[in-house]
Assembly symmetry: D2
Homo-oligomer: 222 residues x 4
């Protein structure tokens, strides 16, 4: 029960790592605000945090639908959509939740990000760049709020089983099996394994860690 009594907001729970984080954090005793509203809407983040009230831990789990596409074929709208979905809502969530954390001198913000921002892949530049914005945001924000005793860190994952980017049907394809060879571990991570790193970053064990990005990628990025 490592999160007993902690109030945790998890966003976009039906996408990306939402389900696995909710499951593990609930098992560890967290009081969960497991939300699935569309955070692209400008007021949505503030409303969510307002409804949640006291928040000890925010897990910013944001995912955009993504189809691989060359840079030339990625039009302005498709490019911008990545930011509307994953970057601008992150800032709105943070702005909404930070004041109470700063006031109490306690709080954890964990951004579920992607290693695609750390090591390039073809046909991923729009997605990867928005994920890069998230990671650089975490680095700067983490240093800024460290003196307030608030910890902001990110997981930069790749090759983790999740419904947004590795649907079960895709896991049957030869393309998928070929891609796995890029890992040293030779498999997808189970969702709970990434959630376990998030749990580490949510607990008191991580009080010393700020503004840090943790690759979680089976050896693809180290």
């Amino acid at each position: 029960m490592r999160l007993k009594g902690k109030r945790v907001v998890v966003t976009q729970i039906e996408a990306f790592m939402g389900k696995d984080i909710v499951e593990l954090f609930r098992k560890e005793g967290a009081e969960l605000v497991a939300d699935n509203r569309d955070l692209c809407e400008p007021d949505a983040a503030a409303t969510l945090i307002g409804e949640a009230g006291h928040v000890d831990i925010l897990v910013a789990n944001l995912a955009a639908p993504m189809l691989p596409s060359t840079v030339v074929d990625t039009d302005d709208d498709a490019f911008r959509a990545m930011y509307e979905t994953m970057v601008f809502p992150l800032h709105r969530l943070v702005r909404a939740v930070l004041p109470q954390m700063i006031a109490r001198r306690q709080g954890k913000i964990i951004v579920m990000g992607s290693a695609t921002a750390m090591r390039g892949l073809p046909n991923m530049a729009a997605y990867g760049s928005a994920r890069g914005a998230q990671l650089a945001y975490v680095k700067n924000l983490g240093i800024e709020v460290a003196p307030h005793n608030v910890n902001v860190n990110a997981i930069a994952q790749a090759f983790v089983d999740n419904p947004s980017y590795f649907p079960k049907s895709y896991q049957q394809t030869d393309e998928f099996k070929a891609r796995l060879r890029a890992t040293a571990v030779g498999r997808l991570a189970h969702g709970w394994e990434s959630a376990a790193l998030a749990l580490f970053l949510a607990g008191d064990e991580s009080n010393f860690l700020v503004g840090q990005v943790f690759p979680f990628a089976g050896g693809w990025v180290t």
Copy 2:
């Protein structure tokens, strides 16, 4: 005359590293399209490249006015402005210029970026995150177009003399002098020193380098 006969587009020449790059590249024999139009306007990038015609080298020099501000004090518009100025125009410039480079199997794109994306600072999260988007974009784009023989790389600079972020008046302040202590070198770089790295990335010496980010920061980031 290391750029003799090369056609080079440099953007936003009155901001950031524009003047120094234009000066050095001209001295090295480049045929310059030294442009200063506002690239926030959706069609501006395509129009610029259309007017330029044949482009061997694009120096994406993009800078947003920036006042330090806490994350809590950075409203949605201020946050978004960083992306409208530095990230979305980068993608539009790249989309406009890439097809001719791919067709000729030759081209260089150099992004003048910031080390603020690599090492966090307080009150810089909006700026730093947009700069992070640029760097992650370069990493992905660089890998994507390497097989087309096009080189995309970035400079992640800090503590470089430039009119956008280190106006002469600021260089007189005690705050500035205190900040310099964070470097190992103990001074601002001259603008031409950063331009010299850009020159390296613009020439044939860099044909082997793709998707790479070069810190240029006097030891502040290595």
Copy 3:
């Protein structure tokens, strides 16, 4: 009891992170071989592992006495001593313990390293370079043994309370207090906090992580 039934070897327990790891791992149910022999002696590592028998987890906790010294003042013997104490014994420990882990297709090796290898400091080159050898060793070894289902990872710590590098007397000095300003967190980590990251890397939660270096440095390195 996250390590219940696991046999763990911890080396040099009176130095560096030894005491804190032994305490936390014991609390979590590990069967500990808490050793303090001098591992500079060529046969010592093999003898230790031979005596230990079955080893599920090796915590390679190696520390050399270190006095800050300029490069010019660091003679060959002082330089080499860093490697005799921290690098060559690491390889001997690994060679001794790997065969059983590979045979069982299960095992964890955690190297307690230093962030000094990731960000430079004056008067630390001998120490920092030996720590760099450790981290690069982990990167290569981790990828090599991943297919055998063995996980090798490292913690690159800085500003963590420990008897080897932050004796209590030193913590009273003005020099120490000035150095703390280089962290964002403004304090030393408690030893148990670093041990908690080691615990994460010792458990099944880290099965997906290989060849990875985790900075643990209060924001000094991220």
Copy 4:
């Protein structure tokens, strides 16, 4: 003639990048001390620098013969040989040459290193770890001597044509061709391309750069 009048020591000229650096630096006007003595001998480095007299630039080009070998199969002598050849001589060269550079407040030290220290590969742990020691040494040394106006930087190369690690016969093998697929560029770098980066680090353009490691790896490491 970018090195006109500069006295440059290049070590182990028949190995690794020696020949290419000598060729390019000579063409650029350097006065070369192109040396090939065995630097494993304890006094060799000091004798070399003593014979060279005034040294503006030291190119520490050190290479050990290397056969891929698992960690388990790498005995103590083979492991230690990497350090005797590439790490301990580096420190002896630096100690020998630094005093005159510090006295004149001018000097450049360039370490020809390997990206194997930054991204792990199987069967390379001994070599990769010694290369990691070099890079961490550069990071610390570079910060230490920056206030003396001496620049120390490293190139971390991979997939660069050179007689030590890519003999022509090996370049005909299928194994080699398969390995090239790990680059984005799809070819070995020519030796002169890496030498051109060394030239950049040897000239005044790099006066602002200290303690920095430049990957040069065709996209394999960025």
